[in-house]
Each structure stands twice: as C-alpha cells, then as structure tokens.
Chain length 340, copies 2
DNA sequence: ATCTGGCACTCTGTCCGTGCGAGTGCCAGC
DNA sequence: GCTGGCACTCGCACGGACAGAGTGCCAGAT
C-alpha cells in the first residue's frame, strides 16, 4: 500500500502548494518542490487517480490541478496537524487581551486579534443568554410612571428594557422591588429564572403587586428571548485581499456577514468537546458561503460553553495554522472571561 | 450673465448624468437628454471653460467629461436641493425604528435603515459620553473583595468596570455606597460628575471611606474616558456594488471603517446647527477616504447633540437623495431617543 | 508490476495590428 | 454669440498568431 500512501502525499503537496501560491499546481512543479522520490510522469498517474476519486480537479485542460472541497476535507481530516503558534504569537494574544475593561471590550479585542492572526474575517458570538445566569437585576426609575429594567449576567452581558407602568411609582417601592428581584433571581440560570416569575406574582408583598405585574411580562421576555444573540465581526478588510478567491463578487459574503443570523447559526453549532470544527465550501449549505470555509470552536470558562467564535475565509486557506489560532484564542478568551 | 447661468446648468446636467450612468458624459448626449436649448457645439465650449476652471475633467482624450471633487462641491453647495423622501420611505423609517428594545437595538436598526435607504455604507456614533448625564450608578458585589461598577447614562449607554478592593466588602456598605453615589451623581453631566469625586472622598462617612477610595479612580476613569466612543457600521455589502468607483481595491476603505477612529472623527465633527455636512473626496484629508465622500449630520433629542451619523460612499453618489435620507433618519433617531 | 522519458496534443494567456466609434477642438459662417 | 462641419485623437473590442504549461499515453527500462 505504499502506493496509496504516496497518492495522499501528492494530495497534501497539492493542497499546500495551491494554498501558498494560488496557482493550479502541475506535476512538474510538484516533483521539484517536494521530495516525493518519483518523476513527474508517475505523479501524473497519481493525479489522474485523485481526480477520478474527486479530490482534485483541473480548471481547464492543460492547467494544473486544484483541490476540491472533498480534497480539502481529506486534507483537514487526515493529512494535517494543527500547527502550533509561535511564542511571539502567544505573547501577542496575551498582550492584546490584557487590559480589556468590559465584555464588549474583550470581544472586540478578540475579533481584532483573530483577524490579525489569521488574515481572515473573524466572528465572535456574545455569550449566549440561555447559558448565562443572573448576576444582578437593577430597577431605575426614569420618570414617574416609567422604569428601566437592567439585567446583568455573570458573563458580563447587559440587557436593558423600558417598562411603562400603569400607575405612578413610589420611590421606596422601587428599592424594595430591586431587593426582591435580586433575592429571587440572583445566581439563577436565565431559563430557570423565567420560570420563577409567575411564583413571584403570587408571593410578592401587596404594595409591590402592581409593580411586579407591570414588569413581569418584560422580565420574562428579557430572560427567555435568545433571539438577539449578538455577533461581533471584524477583519472584513481581509476579504479584499482574498477577493480573487471569490469569483463574481464579495457581495453575497458581505451580506451574509451583515445578516448575522446565517453566520451565527454556523458559529454557535460548536462541538461540545471543544474540538475545532471546519466547514468547507458546499458543506456550509448556504449559498452565499458555498465558496467559503468556516473554522469555528466553542469558548467558555472551565467546562461551561458560553458561545462560539471562528473565522470565515476562502476554501483556499491555511487550515493547520488557522485552526490552531482559533483554538488558542478561544482558550485565552475563556480564561479572561473566567476572571471577570 | 445668462452665459454663466447656462454653464452651471451644464455642470449640473453632467453631475446628474454621470451619477446615474457612470459613463463620462459627452456634449451630444447632454444636448439630447437635457433641454438646454443650445447645440452640442455650444455645450462643448462651456465644457472647455468648466474644465479650465477645474470643475470637470476628462479621463482621457476623446472620452466625455467627469466631475471633479470641486465640481461635486459646487453641485452640492449651489446646484441641488435636498430631495424629499417619499411617503413610503418615511413610513419605512418609522416602521423600522419602532419596537427597538434598547440603545444598541436602536442604533443597529438605524444603521441598517440608513444603509438600505442610501445603498451606501452607514455609520452611527454612540451618544458621546461627554455630553451625557448620569442616570444611575449601580454597585454589585461579585466576590468578597470585588465590585462591579455599572454606569447608566440618560442616553441609555451602559458602561461597566470591575474594581478590586483591597479588603473584604460588607454587604450593607455596598447598599449604602450605592445610595451615596446616586445621591451625589444622579443627573450630573459626566464631565461635572468626575469633578465631584474628590469631594466625595472628603465627605463620605467613615465606614465607606475605603470603599470610595477603591472605586474613586475607576469611577473617574469611567466618567471622563471618552476614548472608547463607539461606532456602529453597516451596509458594507453596498461597497461591493460600487467597487468600480474605487480603482485598485476596497481594502483601504474597509480598513478605515474598521479602524473606527478615522471615521469617528469625521462623523463626530458635526455642525451644531443641524445642517447636513458633506465632505467630498480629497476634502477628507485622509488617504483611505480620498476617493470617498462622507455625508454626516448630528442627531440628538431636542437641542441636545448626542452624536453623529452618516454615510460613506464613492464621490459619485446621489447627494440630494442621500443628504435628505441622512437628515430624515437623524431626526427620527433623535425623537426615538428622546422618548427613552 | 511499476516507474520513467518522450512525444503529440490541447488549451490559455498575451501580444499585436486593425477598424470602429465616441468625443473633442477649431474654424468659418450665420 | 451660436451653429454646423470637419479633421483629429484615442480607447476599446475583435481576431489571429504564438509561446508556454500541462496533460495523457505509450513503449521501454528496472
């Protein structure tokens, strides 16, 4: 089976060369640049087989070969190992993320960092509300009959909603309400907390009944609404660099990135085991991303998954390096978030 | 001076035609499409003068004329009137912005709306902290010796900072501190509030002294730090549509938009009188934007300026329509913010 | 059974020359 | 001061020729 083995070497060499040069790679160049120990003619035979099996293709007769999605898939699964980051890069990660003042700051630094390390578009999902717990609930009176409800999660997310009350509100009641809410909800998972609201309506002291009733609906909505899970996107300028890899236009891709929901779904479907997930080209099952690859991983503190992050780029990308960068950044972000 | 008058009509016609067709416009086409009442030959003479004066230029001999930055400037200043929005558009604005749940939601809807109306890249600045006032200050104990300080402004912005205290913190003291902080700062402009911090150190009750000292520095920093004034960007996909207007690459422009600080400076320098500001091409004084125009205006509630918003696009854009859209959106946003 | 060198073939990208069309500048005449 | 006419200049699209790269296949070597 030294036969099959060599064919895989050829595929690996094709992927590596094509990724670095962006030129279809021919048998002669392959024989020169890699020590495969055989002549171009032999490589040609191997290439013919690889093409028949669907791993490579030629853009037109008499150009070299180019990996197909299937070829990249095999490369990622069996022919490559994550390329460890350099010491300088690791140091850069720490320096970059240190000194962030709040959640938004952490995430926007993360996305810039990831974009810079991989030279691709980076995306980071806000910690999902559904997996967060209540750190604090704040009630602020902004007008006589209007309250501002502020939810702070243990992951640092802040959600706020205005509530109109049917009647004027007493200052002391607001303070009491605040205490009551925090006694009831602090520390609870958001999903569990929503279930406590009906109870609260029953057990609240008489003077707070109307207030609780007024904010109840909004509170539940705030706690369970996972619809607005947000995304931070950065490094779109890198797309211009790789525009050649997207025949036609960058537009569908830029639109998908702005749409958020498409990318969000991809990024949030992370392996719970913490493995880096790669989706290549057509595997993405969304037209705008059919020429792109997505490398993603979950991040979290300890064993708690908070959200996903990753990169979006052309299928012709340096998978080993980018996968390593994505994983490393996710780990550091997890650490940082655990400290805050 | 019917002479000069007609020349300006010619310039206006050139701008309009060029904006809509993206083809250099020649004397013959001009005479056909516009009722200038003179022959192509006469128009040619006018064009020669306009070119000499620097308002138009020809890409190469024997192509039509194209407006220069100076030409667009004259057009914007003297040859055009803001084109009122259609009823449908006005309704779309209301529908789009209604139902926003918090500040971030309002601004991200705004940016999407503006991008959609103008088909350009839209940018919206968060309400500047320096012009905001304290609505509420919240102190949350997240660990025995660690506090979370949350600042909520009257514009709905939320800033949070973690504070490490040198000693363990008593729960009751936290409540007392919260009351003290709000009594002291609520309603004060952020800039003024910072000045009150030293006073607070003097007058705080003995049991709170150390706490106040611990949070003092962070508090001042949070109040005065205008560095992180944030920007929401949307509609970058529209750049792909007008890529032809940016010879070379979209990259510098995308980079500038990500850099934020460059665009932020442009957007935040708004006319206090509420006039729409247009910067054309080289007027931007930043290389990446030298081929782009920025249309911006301040938004605010009542007579209070909160921040700026606007669009970035090629110099070849429909100024009358876009200026009207920017102004209309700014007004609506001001209204919405005034209500919350 | 497998590899290798040689050779004919195919296709693309490029260069060059040509012709066409658009647009101009200028000038004489109204 | 406007107009029609005319010669001139370019850019661009089209088409043919050509070089280069790469392949597939086959006969011979190992």
């Amino acid at each position: 089976m030294a036969h099959d083995e060599r064919r895989l070497q050829v595929l690996r060499a094709i992927v590596q060369d094509y990724v670095s040069t962006n030129d279809p790679v021919g048998s002669k160049a392959l024989a020169e640049r890699h020590d495969l120990g055989v002549s171009p003619a032999t490589i040609r035979n191997d290439m013919a087989v690889l093409e028949e099996q669907g791993y490579i293709t030629q853009p037109h007769t008499s150009a070299g070969r180019v990996p197909t999605d299937k070829g990249y898939r095999l490369f990622v699964d069996r022919l490559s190992a994550l390329k460890p980051l350099s010491v300088a890069e690791k140091r850069a990660i720490e320096r970059f993320l240190d000194g962030a003042v709040d959640l938004h700051d952490i995430l926007s630094r993360t996305v810039r960092l990831l974009a810079q390390l991989t030279h691709q578009v980076a995306v980071v999902q806000y910690p999902t509300l559904s997996r967060s717990a209540v750190r604090h609930l704040e009630v602020v009176q902004v007008a006589t009959a209007r309250l501002l409800l502020v939810l702070i999660t243990d992951t640092g997310r802040v959600e706020q909603r205005l509530v109109d009350c049917p009647v004027d509100v007493d200052r002391d009641d607001v303070a009491e309400l605040r205490t009551l809410l925090n006694q009831t909800f602090a520390g609870a998972k958001l999903a569990d907390a929503a279930a406590l609201v009906p109870d609260l309506l029953e057990t609240a002291p008489p003077n707070l009944r109307r207030l609780v009733a007024a904010i109840g609906a909004v509170l539940v909505e705030t706690l369970v609404e996972p619809g607005d899970d947000r995304l931070v996107v950065g490094g779109t300028a890198n797309l211009a660099r790789v525009a050649v890899d997207f025949p036609g236009s960058l537009r569908p891709l830029l639109e998908a990135l702005e749409e958020q929901v498409v990318v969000l779904r991809l990024i949030s479907e992370v392996d719970t085991g913490g493995a880096v997930l790669v989706r290549i080209g057509e595997e993405n099952a969304h037209e705008a991303l059919s020429g792109a690859s997505v490398v993603s991983v979950g991040y979290g503190s300890g064993d708690r998954a908070l959200g996903g992050l990753g990169i979006v780029g052309p299928t012709r990308m340096d998978y080993p390096t980018n996968m390593a960068a994505v994983r490393a950044v996710a780990r550091y972000v997890g650490q940082i978030l655990a400290e805050s």
